[in-house]
C-alpha cells in the first residue's frame, strides 16, 4: 500500500528562553521487506540555526534542532510518501511460553533487536503485579508465544475503554490500567507491562494509522493523531511481531512505523518542550492518504 502522509505539530512557549533545543523523532525509516520510504521531508518553522540528523540506538531517525535565539512558537511539518506492506504471516512457529525464556537466554547480543532490552523495567513501564496477574489469568505455559500475545492484546482491548480525554502523555500504565481507559499510548504501555510480566519481551512502536478506512469498514481509533502499538518478541524463529491493542489487530499494511523503543520515552516525537510550564500549547494534525485501492 502506498501512502502520502502529512503531519503538522505546532507548539508555543509562554516564556521563551534565549535559546531552544529540541530532539525530534518524526522521520519514518526504511524497514526491509515491510516499509519503504519514497520521499520524506521535515520542515521546521522558524528555521533552526542548527539541524543534525542521526540514528539513535534503536535505529530511529533522530533530528536535533537548535535555535540560537528566543523562539515563541515552533511548527513542524512532515511530508512523506511510504510504501508499506503487511509483514508476512506464516505458520505459528513461536515456542510455547514455557520455552521462550531459554530462547531469550540463547541470544548473546546487545544489538538493538536483542530481546533483552525489552524484558525488565524501562523508563515509563515497570512490571506491575496487578497487570501481571491479569496476564497470567489469560495465558497458559503451553500457549505459543504468538497466541499469548494476541490473547493478551484482545483481552486488554476488551477490558479497556478508548477515551481520548481521560489520560495525558504523562499517565502511568498503573493509572490507565486501574481506570481501564486511555488512548493508544496507554493501551500500548499496559500491554507491554503485561507481556513483560509473563516473560515476553515487548516494546513500543510510534507511527501512523491510515485515516480513511477501506470502503465498508469503520474508521479506527487513534487515526487523527500519531498512533502507538506494541511489538513483541516471539522466539528466535519468528522474531518481532507487532500488535495494536487499541484496535485488537496485528499491525499490517494500514500501519506506518516511525520509531521503536522500550516505551514512549524512547520514541517521544518531540523532546525539549517544557512540560511543567502551563502556558505552553501544542496541536497535532495527521493525514494518512492511501494512493491506490
Amino acid at each position: 500500500m502506498l501512502y502520502d502522509i502529512t503531519l503538522q505539530i505546532d507548539y508555543a512557549y509562554a516564556a521563551p528562553s534565549d535559546r531552544l533545543r529540541n530532539l525530534l523523532r518524526l522521520l519514518p525509516p526504511d524497514l526491509p521487506g515491510v516499509q519503504q520510504v519514497l520521499r520524506r521531508q521535515l520542515a521546521i518553522e522558524p528555521a533552526p540555526d542548527e539541524r543534525r540528523d542521526s540514528l539513535d540506538f534503536f535505529g530511529n531517525a533522530m533530528t536535533s534542532v537548535v535555535w540560537h535565539r528566543p523562539v515563541e512558537a515552533v511548527g513542524l511539518h512532515l511530508g512523506a510518501r511510504i510504501e508499506r506492506s503487511a509483514p508476512p504471516r506464516g505458520l505459528d512457529l513461536s515456542p510455547p511460553l514455557a520455552k521462550l525464556g531459554a530462547e531469550i537466554a540463547a541470544v548473546h547480543s546487545l544489538g538493538p533487536a536483542a530481546p533483552q532490552h525489552f524484558l525488565g523495567a524501562s523508563p515509563r513501564v515497570a512490571p506491575l503485579p496487578e497487570i501481571t496477574a491479569f496476564a497470567r489469568e489469560r495465558v497458559t505455559p503451553a500457549m505459543t508465544t504468538i497466541a499469548a500475545i494476541e490473547t493478551l492484546g484482545r483481552a486488554l482491548h476488551k477490558a479497556m475503554r478508548f477515551d481520548a480525554e481521560a489520560t495525558t502523555v504523562d499517565t502511568t500504565p498503573a493509572e490507565a490500567f486501574a481506570a481501564r481507559h486511555g488512548v493508544c499510548q496507554d493501551f500500548a504501555h499496559v500491554m507491554i507491562a503485561a507481556l513483560r510480566g509473563i516473560g515476553v519481551p515487548a516494546g513500543y512502536v510510534s507511527g501512523f494509522l491510515r485515516t480513511f478506512p477501506p470502503p465498508g469498514q469503520p474508521r479506527l481509533e487513534g487515526a487523527d493523531a500519531m498512533h502507538a502499538w506494541v511489538r513483541a518478541w516471539a522466539g528466535a524463529e519468528t522474531g518481532w511481531i507487532e500488535f495494536d491493542p487499541t484496535n485488537d489487530q496485528r499491525a499490517g499494511a494500514d500501519y506506518i512505523t516511525v520509531a521503536v523503543g522500550r516505551d514512549y520515552a524512547d520514541v517521544a516525537p518531540v523532546l525539549g518542550v517544557m512540560r511543567s510550564s502551563g502556558g505552553q500549547e501544542s496541536r497535532q494534525a495527521v493525514d494518512v492518504e492511501p494512493l491506490e485501492g
Partner: protein, 815 residues
Amino acid sequence: MASAARQTGPDLFADYRLDPGVADELFDASGQMRPVWRRFVERFARLTPAEVAARFERGNQYLRDAGVFFRQYSNDPLTEREWPLSHIPVILHETEWDQICAGLTQRADLLEAVMADLYGPGRLVSEGHLPAELIAGSRQWLRPMVGVPPRGGHYLHFMAFEIGRSPDGSWFVLGDRTQAPSGAGFALENRMATGRIFPERFPRAHIHRLAGFFQGYRTALARLSRGATGEARTAAILTPGPSNDTYYEHTYIARYLGLSLLEGEDLLVENGQAMVRTIEGPKPLGALWRRIDAGFADPLEFDPTSQIGTPGLMEAVRAGNLAMVNAFGSGVLEMRALMAFLPRISEVLAGQPLSMPNIATWWCGGAAERAYVEANAERMMIGSAYAVDLPFDLGATTALGGRFRGTARESIAEWLASEGAQLVGQEAVTLSTTPAWVERDGPGPEGSTAADGHLMPCPMTVRVFAARTAQGWSFMKGGYARIGRSGDTTALAMQRGGAVADVWIVSDRPVPVQTLAPAPAADGAFHRAAPGILPARAADNLYWLGRYVERTEDAIRLIRAYHLRLAATDNPADPRLRLLRAFLGGYGYDLDQPVPAALIGRIEMARACAAKVRDRFSTDGWAALKDLDRTARQMTRTARPGDDAARAMSVLVRKITGFSGLVHENMYRFEGWRFLSLGRKVERADALCALLHAFAAPEAPGGSLDLAVEVGDSVITHQRRYRVETSRDTVVDLLALDSDNPRAILFQLREMRDLAAGLPNAYDTGRLGPLLRAIVPLDAGLSVAAPSEITSARLLELRAALAEISDLIGAAYLR
C-alpha cells in the same frame, strides 16, 4: 575512671580486645604492635586525657571553622551534620600501599577495558562472558553512549575503590566508584584536621602528602581539556548544586584545584561544542569533571524529568568536543552483579587473574549460582543485582545471613526463584579493625571529644583514589577511611552512625614535601595564571549577594533608629516613630517584632546567594554570614522593644559590616568582586534616595533630618563639615552630593562608573557602552547640582534610573 593527672599510657589499650577471627591494623595475630604504628602510639600514649581532648577539639575546631559539613537528605533539605571525624588515623606502610595500588592499577585498566567493550564491540556479551540481560537491564548502561568513542581515548579518568582487609591480612575490593566518586576533597580536609591534632614534625615528616596526587590530576585535566589545535580550554566541575549531600566537597575541591564550579544551567551547547555562559558570553569548555550522575546530565537524551541538566550535553560528547570525567555511562561498572563476572573477564581481556580479589559475588540469574546462594544463604548478603551502592550502604542489602531485613517476604528460596536475575548474593565479609577513640560506654567513634575515652577496635574500610595521568594511573597517597562501630566486624557495621578517618601512608624515611604550587616554567620566570572564567550565574549571585547584604544593613540601621527613639520617648505615637513605621512597613518590616521576621528573610536571601558561590569567597566570609544569621535568629526569641532591641541591632550592624569588611578586604579584585561591589553600590544609592525622599521631605516631622544622618552613618561627618544644626540643605549635600562621603549618592555613582568601566565590553568601539551611558549622566548631573535641586521628584527619577541600570547589568552580564 581516668583522671586528668594520670597518663593515658598505662591503660591506653586496657579495653582493646582483639577478636581472634578478625585482622587488626594495630596489632598482628600474635598480639604484637605492628612496627608502622609504634612511634605514633608512643607519642600518643604520653598525652594526658586532657591533652587528648584538647587536641581533638583543635581538629574539630578546624573543621567547624572551615565550614566542613555533610548534608543529609531529610525532610529539611538544609540539614547539615557536623563532620564525623574519628581522630585517630589509619596508618599503613608505603610498601603495603604500593602493593594495594599495583592491584588496583590492574583493576582500573580492566574496568576501562570492560567499559570500552560494553559501549563498543560488545564482545563480552557476544562471547558469553556477561549475560546480555544483566547489561540491557541496567539503568546505568546508557544507550546513547553506544558507539561513541570518548574524547581523549579513555572512558575513565578518576576513580575510587572501597577496599577492606580479610582475616588473613590480604586486601579485597568491596566496590568500585566510577560514576562520580566523592571523598577526595573530604580526604584533604581530614588531613588538614589531623594536622592540627598531631602537629609534631614526626610523624608528619614521614607521612606522604596528598598534594602531589592533586597536582598530577590537575595537569591531566588541563591536558584533557585542550582543543583540536592544542589550545587551552576551560576545565570545570559540574555539580548538581547546593542541595547535594557532598556539595561542600565540590566547592572545596573547586577552590583547591582552581577549577570553575558549574551547574547545568551554566552550560549550553552550540554547534556540538559545550560552552560556559560567562559574563563575556559563551566560552568553549574542554573537560568536565562531573559530580552529577549521567542520568541527570541531559534531559533530552537521558532522564527527561531532570531539572539540573544541560540539553544537548550528550550531543557535545557525541561530536567528540567534550571530555567527560568519567564518560557518561560509567555508572554501569558500579553495578554489583558485575563483580560476579570480573574475575573471569580479567582472564579473558587481560589474560591474567585479578591480583586483588573483589568481594565474592554470585549473580542469581544463573541456575547453579542461584542454588549456591540459596544453600549458603546463612553467610550471604543478598540484594539487588543492579544496586550501585556499596554493600554496607543503607538499603543496598535486603537479606543477610538468611534473614530478611524489613520486608515481608516468605522465603529466600521463593524470592531467588522468582527474581533471580535481579539479585546477587555476596559473601558476608569480615573487615579488619583499627583503633578509634570511643567515649566510655559510648556506642561509636563519632563525636569522640571527651577526655574520658579509650581506644577500641572498630571495623574499617578505606577508599582509595586514582587519577589517570600521562604516566598512567596515579594514586592518592592517603585516603579516606570509614570507621564502623566497635563490636561488629561485618560490613554492615559501617551502615549508620559511622565516622571517617584520615589514612596515613608512612615511609621509613622523611618524604619530599609537595604543594599544589605549579612547577616553575621552563624559562625559570614567574608566570601569573590568568584568573578563571566567571559564569554568568555566579556573577548574578554575587551581584544579588551585594544587594541583599546592603539592603539588610540598611534595614538594621533603620530598625535601630526606631528602637533608640522608642526608648527615648516611650511614645509610639511620636511622629518620627510613625514615619519610621510607615517607611519600614512599606518594605514588609513589622516593627511590633523587635527583630522583624522580614529581616530574617533578607538575611536568608543573602545567605542563599552566598551558598551558591561559596567557592568564590573565603571560608571566613561564609562563617561571618552564618554567624549573622544564627545571631539574628536567636535575637528573635530574646530581644525586647526599645533599648534592648536597639542594642541587638547594634550587634547585627557590627556583624554585617564585619562580613562586608572581610569581603572587601580579602576578595581578589577581579570580576566576581566587581559584581558584588556593583550590587552594593546600586543598592546603597537606591536606599539613600529612598531615605532622603522620606526623611528630608519638606513635610517630614521635626527630627527626621537627624534621623536620616544617623541612618546614613554620617553623624560625625555632619558635625565636622557643617558645624551647624541639620538643615535640608546640609543633609542633602552630605548624603546626596558629597563625592567624598562613602554614604552619599554621588559617591556610589562614581564607584559604579569605575566598576562598570572595568567590566568586559564596557566600551563599544571606543564609545561608552550602554551601562556607562546610563551611569555617566547621573554622575554628571549630581556633580553640578545644588542641594535645592534635589527635590522629591528628582529623587524618584534617580530611583527609576538606578532600576534601569540594574536591568542593564542583568541583560548584559548575568544571563
